[in-house]
């Protein structure tokens, strides 16, 4: 078993050192013999054991004696640990590929491939929003009435529901990816702005509602524009009016709609519907009912939509 453990360790060390590369080759030879049920008679085990014992004996004779006695069982322990950690590593790699985190979808535990946890960053809801902290298991679309929310390709069988905030950087990073996916696979796409970052987004929610009511086609162009422009522009009233005019909206009608108490009521109702999903930060994207929190890589959404080999389809 020692040669198998050595092969992995020396293989990694061999990347940096020629002498370890040679030892890795020898251990590979030994491994190949073992896996083909031949005796490992290359002397590799002996050589490594001697080197290790030689290193230990000058520091502690007792330690070397003990090591010599338990060398084989110790090799087995290391082998089992190696296998377990290998399986764990492969699992982590698989989960990272499919969910953007080594520990599973939306897990914020440390992941070596995403050490800063960028795939899970969100603009979180404040306690004042009266949303209790929730977990992945709580996130759901069940019981949420999505009628009246902006939706594209409403009849498509695959459905994406996107809860985001125009001012949230993580939403802004995620939105283009999801839009790309929607375009490619023509899935049903529901978007709801949830004003999470600061005050003006309340206005944006009402504007979004009114724009969708006025013209659905122009609404999606507006949405795309809001997510592609510099964030500062969203707070610039003049830029906003010019842009809306440019997109062909009747701005005076829009402004009236935004200011109307009925609009505020509807917006609040929609936000309350969103809260029912138990989401705890933006962006939260439901892909066919499965919630993803934070800006995931494109592949994560694609895999949820089309499976592991989405790129083959």
């Amino acid at each position: 078993m020692f040669c198998i453990v050595s092969f992995v360790v020396l293989g990694i060390l061999g990347i940096f050192s020629a002498s370890n590369r040679q030892l890795a080759k020898e251990s590979l030879d030994c491994v190949l013999r073992r896996v083909t049920l031949r005796p490992c008679n290359t002397g590799f085990d002996e050589k490594m054991k001697a080197k290790i014992l030689g290193f230990v004996i000058v520091r502690s004779e007792g330690g070397a004696r003990l090591l010599n006695r338990i060398f084989e069982p110790l090799s087995w322990i290391f082998f089992v640990l190696l296998m377990a950690s290998s399986i764990w590593s492969v699992r982590g790699l698989y989960l990272f590929y499919t969910s953007g985190s080594c520990n599973g979808l939306n897990s914020t535990a440390f992941c070596v491939f995403d050490p800063k946890g960028q795939n899970n960053q969100t603009s979180g809801l404040l306690q004042t929003c009266k949303v209790t902290p929730t977990t992945q298991a709580d996130l759901t679309l069940k019981g949420v009435d999505l009628s009246g929310f902006p939706v594209l390709n409403p009849t498509a069988p695959d459905k994406i529901v996107f809860i985001g905030c125009y001012h949230c950087d993580y939403t802004r990073a995620t939105y283009p990816l999801v839009r790309q996916l929607v375009e490619r696979y023509q899935v049903s796409f529901t978007f709801q702005n949830y004003p999470i970052v600061h005050e003006p987004t309340d206005y944006m929610t009402r504007l979004s509602l009114c724009a969708y009511q006025q013209d659905q086609t122009k609404y999606w162009k507006m949405n795309d524009t809001f997510f592609s422009t510099a964030k500062a522009n969203l707070d610039d009233a003049a830029w906003m009016q010019t842009t809306l005019t440019g997109l062909g909206f009747n701005t005076s009608q829009l402004n009236s709609c935004v200011a109307a108490p009925a609009t505020e009521t509807t917006a609040k109702q929609q936000m309350l519907e969103m809260v029912k999903t138990k989401f705890f930060g933006t962006p939260t994207v439901f892909v066919n009912g499965v919630a993803t929190v934070g800006p995931k890589p494109y592949r994560v959404y694609a895999i949820l939509l089309r499976g592991l080999f989405y790129w083959l389809r």
Partner: protein
């Protein structure tokens, strides 16, 4: 090399039976060729060629003096002991049913050439068994001597256990039988005075790299009248005085045995090594080796499970301390010594596979000493070995 430095801690070099280290004088002689007179010997007429010819000739004189040969032409330069033995095997005209006697613990260099001759020419190779303590059995040797024995070929000192055979008696008895004698002196030339004239030995082969000289350089000593009768083994450039499309006229010995361009630097280095050893003196060399061997033997003989190869008396083992540790692979011990204290010894079967296989021993550890080794090194070796004995 023996000093600490260049990313390496101070070494204890106990692998002298494999190859010795070289003194500065030898390195200087080698360098001198490449730096000052790098040209062909004996072919060209210019001054550089003349200088090389003179230096090589001087080296041959030094080696002849080292051996106490009757004349320098009895010294044939070879690549190593193996080539010297092969030269004899292929050049003395062995016929079918001729018998060659060797001992039961010959280095492959003095075994395989005879096996090949048996296969190709039908000679018979007979083995003289050693005594239980691995010393030479003269009685067994005498019993095998008969008129069909054309040649006896023995290792003078064994690389297996350091045992030196009684060459004077062997040569005397062989000559009485009408047999030629070839000595594999690879392990004896560096340690014992070789007086070929006094011994009346017919052939003697040895290597430069075991006697402070350069690697890839060796010597075959042979009586001149034998060399004259022998056919050359390797032929070509430098072996002939003239040639036609049909035939050639060989040069006299030793040139007819030295085919192709020679290792002039190696020859000069070997000459310097021979001179160095003569200056040090074999009495001093043997004395220091014995001192070290006695000290080591006394310290390690009581290590549990340790078994010395060869006789217990260090005086019979020259500079060699070979041993096994029951139940422990010899390579493991060698590697541990290296890892622990940079002590360099040889492990395995030392090119004497036949003996190990016959005795069903997997391998041994061999510490081979030379005059430049010290008592401190011997002490480090024994203390390290004792630790290993306790741990393994």
């Amino acid at each position: 090399m023996l000093q600490e430095g260049a990313g390496r801690k101070k070494i204890t070099y106990f692998d002298n039976a494999c190859q010795t280290l070289r003194p500065k004088q030898v390195l200087d002689a080698i360098n001198q060729y490449y730096l000052k007179s790098s040209a062909c010997s004996g072919r060209s007429m210019h001054q550089l060629a003349a200088e090389v010819t003179r230096e090589c000739d001087q080296a041959r004189v030094l080696v002849a003096k080292f051996l106490n040969a009757a004349k320098k032409e009895e010294v044939v330069f070879t690549r190593n002991t193996t080539e010297g033995i092969n030269l004899v095997a292929n050049s003395i005209g062995l016929q079918k049913d001729d018998v060659v006697l060797i001992s039961d613990k010959e280095h492959n260099s003095n075994l395989i050439p005879w096996q090949m001759m048996a296969r190709k020419h039908g000679i018979l190779v007979k083995i003289v068994p050693s005594r239980p303590d691995n010393t030479f059995d003269l009685d067994a040797f005498e019993k095998l001597l008969d008129p069909k024995v054309r040649l006896v070929s023995f290792g003078w000192s064994s690389n297996l256990d350091g045992v030196t055979i009684p060459v004077a008696e062997i040569i005397k008895k062989a000559h009485q039988n009408g047999s030629l004698v070839l000595l594999d002196a690879a392990q004896s030339a560096p340690h014992h005075k070789a007086n070929v004239k006094a011994l009346d030995v017919d052939f003697m082969a040895f290597s430069g790299h075991k006697m402070l000289g350069p690697s890839g350089m060796g010597v075959l000593y042979a009586k001149y009248q034998l060399l004259e009768k022998m056919d050359p083994f390797l032929v070509g450039g430098d072996t002939v005085a003239s040639s036609t499309y049909e035939t050639c006229e060989f040069l006299p010995p030793p040139e007819k045995f030295e085919a192709g361009l020679q290792d002039y630097a190696g020859i000069m280095g070997l000459g310097a090594a021979a001179k160095y050893l003569m200056d040090v003196g074999f009495d001093a060399i043997e004395k220091q080796e014995l001192l070290l061997n006695e000290a080591i033997t006394a310290e390690i003989k009581d290590i549990p499970r340790l078994k010395l190869l060869g006789p217990a008396d260090p005086r019979l083992r020259g500079g060699v301390v070979a041993f096994t540790l029951e139940g422990v692979d010899s390579h493991r011990i060698a590697l541990m010594l290296d890892q622990m204290a940079a002590i360099m010894v040889r492990s395995g079967q030392h090119c004497v596979h036949s003996w190990f296989n016959a005795h069903q021993i997997k391998g041994s550890v061999r510490a081979s000493l030379y005059f430049y080794n010290t008592m401190e090194e011997a002490s480090l070796f024994t203390s390290s070995l004792k630790k290993i004995g306790k741990v393994l």
